[in-house]
Symmetry: C2
Subunit: 190 residues, 2 copies
Amino acid sequence: MDALRLRIAREGRNLGGGILKVDGFVNHQVDPRLMDDCGRELARRFAGVAPTKVLTAEISGIAPAVATGLHLGVPVVYARKSRPVTMPDQVFLTLSPSHTKGGSTELVVSPEYLGPEERVLIVDDFLASGATILGLARLAHAAGARVVGVGTLIEKVFEGGRSALDPLGVPVESLARVVAMEGDRIDLEE
Amino acid sequence: MDALRLRIAREGRNLGGGILKVDGFVNHQVDPRLMDDCGRELARRFAGVAPTKVLTAEISGIAPAVATGLHLGVPVVYARKSRPVTMPDQVFLTLSPSHTKGGSTELVVSPEYLGPEERVLIVDDFLASGATILGLARLAHAAGARVVGVGTLIEKVFEGGRSALDPLGVPVESLARVVAMEGDRIDLEE
């Protein structure tokens, strides 16, 4: 998507170690208009697989997921990284290796909001190694739901997440694909 | 706002100890259409104070804040609860007592995205004791910015947050006001 690619080219920063900083419009400061445009585009690309729910992980997946859910007209569930007091005792929980923090993170979803009849579209800000998305897919499968697609804003192609998602057998769409980062240069696929 | 009040009346649950569960449309599962409507209404109520930025706290403030920012046409910053690797070493940080978890939580904002020229509208899902909102106001003040209003989805009137916010001297708007909860009953102000 041109607007997102342009923004990454102009404001993204390579912090080294594979970390792309997009804190000015995705991760800490959010550009709501850009998010809305991204959500509309993801909704357009996945309308054909008829999702009934969007699933994401807190924190930075929330803005793009809610925008996508709005344009698809379906609810959004965000997996929590710890079980809040409002959740029932019995939950779906999986462990996901944490890319930026090391160690592993819990992803927790309440069975109240994810059931066997659902067609789940997974949305996140980044597709990097694919670990978080595979964790979300495990939660969906644990609920007996069907994953029908994966949509992300930014794919770091050089981290190989796309092939890690192959076993899911679903369409994977990214709105901007970063093929390489070196020094100040961020190479985006046209 | 009627749509939100109706939803709370129908789906909200009093878990005791002052905790109102709205996980089905605000906190874990999000209704994107409802959030969009709430954001439109908050934007309408605060257009007159001309905010240049919406400030919220992760996690559950993000959805209503981004919706409000979209309809105001301004960026949204969400305070992080820990400093991510993408943030500079020098940040604005304040401690806020945690209502549901006990202890205290850090709220961190990067000076890159909050500056002295800003007119800040604080948005959050709940106005309860007001502690988180006061923490966000301290961050805005530390940045030299001016707080011009506080907007929340749900006010728990019985927790007294509104008077805690008096010293800010700004308009405070809530889209639904819960005046009491007892057993299965949730009393909403008309």
